[in-house]
């Protein structure tokens, strides 16, 4: 209990609360501007959190992303442009509701069910993470090896529509992680005699490039002119929400649960959670014919799902150091920078920090109601700011932020290359999330593989001997072999 009290003390300080409030505003703003994503918001925050103690640094990321995923719904309803990819699944639905004169319902449902879904995800995180950490304390390199493999498998088979391209993305990520001296033999790999490369490719500039610079390049190529759907002032967005809650409790629960689960799977985050929930909502709805005509049911379910996914993604990130989505991939980088190395020992050695993160999570969800209400009020003013004015400024932030991590221009070079790579990958249909997973987990994979190998002493069956390792391994093999099994069965 002491740790919980300490955690409250860590969070309820004027400095931390100020950071939370500012990141809330920042997250709402970034989320509401189409073309600026929640992941980009996180990547741009990192250079600033670099200079903060661990708790406010994590608080800034948690708050900003929660707000951004909600406020992505605002331009969906008003401009038919999702503010973040996580809102794309129900953009048409929200826009059609607005067209029907029900902008309040579209925006209100987005807000209220985002909050409820978010709280669900956080509660699961609070219950599941410490319990999993207890189990994970007994893990050896075998279990970690299979966990990483399972993460890769999820990213390829579950997160993407095209497993072949997902596989290429993952391998490219692993290739990037190979660069440098950090390997079992301590040999320089792909350093080309360059002193900067011996330290490996720096993660944060890479992320800034892949998630922010690539987005700026995309904006530069396609300059779209948005048109506002409604010009009248909004009424009370909370009106009728109680009735919706009574009408769709099952949808809320299903969306929240699926969102948390998808979030917890490595490589799949809020955007995939929203797509899957929307499809599920339509599939099980009593009125599926109303979907796609401005029907609020899908918004309830997938709006809850994308916010629930945020909490879910932190479960594997905190317990195993395996990111559940791109946002936590960046957050893990921040945790390492702050000497808060993720893993089960974090729950034993620094429980107050973990509890502080939980408190921040709840606080962020609760703050979303008033802040989100305010954001809806000023939405039309925010959406009038031309993105063309913001993009060059964001580029300058990216440059300076990438430079600031090591005070070296090498970071800017990495950022640019990653930006161009991310741009073409997206364009040619290669998902970026598996690449990030490969970069983050490559070193971990190699390390655990080699220590397992030394323990196994040539006997590969040892990889399956321990019960949990055996189960995880069998699960991996099953997913890999499943397409072949299905093909055989069809014949």
């Amino acid at each position: 209990m002491d740790a919980v009290a300490t955690a409250f003390g860590l969070v309820f300080q004027p400095y931390v609360l100020l950071v939370i409030a500012l990141s809330a505003l920042y997250g709402l703003f970034v989320g509401a501007i189409p073309g600026l994503t929640a992941t980009m918001a996180t990547a741009l925050l990192v250079p600033v959190t670099f200079f903060m103690p661990p708790v406010p640094a994590v608080a800034a990321i948690v708050t900003a992303t929660a707000m951004a995923i909600f406020s992505g719904d605002i331009p969906s309803a008003l401009l038919r442009m999702p503010g973040t990819p996580a809102s794309a699944a129900y953009t048409d639905e929200a826009f059609l509701l607005t067209k029907k004169g029900q902008a309040e319902t579209a925006l209100g449902a987005g807000l209220v069910f985002s909050v409820l879904g978010g709280i669900f995800g956080v509660l699961v995180l609070i219950v599941a993470a410490p319990a999993l950490a207890e189990v994970a304390l007994k893990f050896s390199s075998f279990e970690y090896f299979w966990l990483v493999m399972l993460g890769f498998t999820c990213a390829i088979f579950i997160a993407g529509s095209d497993p072949l391209k997902g596989c290429v993305s993952l391998l490219l990520g692993l290739l990037i992680s190979v660069v440098g001296l950090e390997n079992p033999a301590g040999a320089p790999r792909y350093t080309f005699g360059n002193a900067d490369l011996t330290g490996g490719i720096p993660l944060i500039p890479l992320m800034i490039g892949m998630f922010a610079v690539s987005e700026i390049l995309r904006f530069a190529v396609v300059v779209a002119k948005p048109v506002m759907a409604t010009d009248r002032p909004f009424g009370n967005v909370f009106k009728g929400m109680g009735a919706l809650l009574k009408k769709y409790p099952l949808q809320l629960f299903r969306g929240s649960a699926l969102g948390t689960l998808v979030g917890a799977l490595p490589g799949a985050g809020a955007d995939i959670a929203a797509w899957m929930s929307y499809a599920m909502s339509k599939r099980f709805s009593k009125e599926p014919q109303k979907f796609g005509t401005g029907h609020v049911e899908g918004i309830v379910e997938s709006g809850a799902a994308n916010n629930a996914a945020l909490g879910g993604a932190w479960i594997p990130a905190l317990v195993f150091g395996i990111p559940g989505d791109s946002i936590t991939a960046i957050a893990i980088g921040v945790l390492y920078l702050k000497d808060m190395n993720p893993g089960p020992t974090l729950f034993v050695n620094n429980p107050q920090n973990i509890y502080a993160v939980f408190i921040v999570f709840i606080l962020a969800q609760l703050l979303m109601l008033p802040f989100g209400w305010g954001a809806i009020k000023v939405a039309k003013q925010i959406l009038r700011i031309p993105a063309a004015l913001l993009m060059p400024l964001i580029l300058l932030f990216c440059i300076v932020g990438s430079f600031a991590i090591n005070n070296s221009l090498f970071g800017v070079v990495v950022m640019l290359v990653a930006g161009v790579l991310g741009f073409f990958m997206e364009r040619w249909g290669f998902p970026v999330a598996p690449t990030i997973l490969g970069v983050v987990l490559g070193t971990m994979l190699e390390e655990h593989f080699f220590s397992s190998l030394i323990k196994a002493d040539g006997n590969f069956l040892v990889f399956f001997e321990r019960p949990i390792a055996g189960t995880l391994g069998a699960l991996c093999l099953l997913i890999w072999l499943w397409p072949a099994v299905r093909m055989l069965r069809r014949r």
């Binding site: 200079f51 290739l175 610079v213 396609v222 221009l409 249909g429």
Partner: protein, 153 residues
Amino acid sequence: MRRTDAWVGLGLAVLAGAVLWSARAFPNVPGQKLGAAFLPTLVGAGLLLCGIGLIVRSLRGRAYAGHEALAAGSEHFGSSLVVIGAVLAYIFLSERVGFLLIAPLCLLAGFVAFRIGWRRALLWAVGGTVLVHVAFYKLLRVPLPWGVITPFY
């Protein structure tokens, strides 16, 4: 999409070849049969297979549809080249010229490429530079270079 897939597959296969060839020189862990070459070899082999897979699939005409379904005429590649050029200019010139001179030029190039009027662009370029300078140099103490204006600082 089909033709792009085939070319990307070819590019990946070439990359895989380079990775595999270079991995042969990496040393083993003392006392083990494997070493630094293991992961690169695995990645190289995987990339080679995927590259071939992409080529075969696109030649057979079974490509998946990509995200981009835009008409070719509605895209402006010029602006994206300006963005890349601005970053390159920063990389090569910032230490010599200094942040306070190169940053407004990068911003100005971006604004103009995105069709913001000159007067507004100039105002935002100066304002944006001051904002970033105050935030990163003054508050966060990032040593942004002074370049040619060092003597006046």
